[in-house]
Symmetry: C2
């Protein structure tokens, strides 16, 4: 579950799509035109993001509008935080730098 999330985040094109969506919802074609690859390829990336629940899509006439699903980011963030910022407990003898 989290697995698909991080896998989806691993690609720079997809992260860029997410960054674009942060500034507002966008149609698939509108997004695709920002990238130097074929429309179908961007559509594929959108599907990966959709499978990971990182984005939501809805049809608006002949357009399909994508938007961020921020709640899933929260989960990923929380996971990273637990690892990286000591948000979880630490064992007694543990040292992380000498």
């Amino acid at each position: 579950m989290l697995d698909r999330t991080f896998r989806a985040l691993a690609d720079p094109t997809r992260r860029r799509i997410l960054a674009l969506l942060r500034d507002g919802d966008r149609a698939a074609g509108e997004l695709a035109s920002e990238f130097p690859m074929a429309f179908a390829s961007v559509s594929h990336h959108l599907q990966v993001l959709r499978d990971a629940d990182l984005v939501l899509s809805r049809r608006d006439g002949q357009f399909i509008i994508y938007s961020l699903n921020t709640t899933v980011f929260q989960d990923a963030l929380q996971h990273l935080m637990e690892i990286g910022t000591g948000a979880g407990r630490r064992r007694k003898g543990a040292r992380r730098d000498a």
Copy 2:
């Protein structure tokens, strides 16, 4: 740069390694014994994590001790936060859910 970070985070084995390291530094073999795969495979994962600067390694006698490099997590976290939590500005007309 961030690319390698997220790519490294995309694998569940590597995330589990990181979670183990959160509880304290560990030798490579000690980490490897936690996984059902060959030592060499875990060693490979450790190298990926090292290339991503997510972990640091130092030699201690015949052991090689791995530890978290928390600062790189901060970068990744910040990046995710900028995307997911509205840490950045949002355009005027933007709506994310209807």
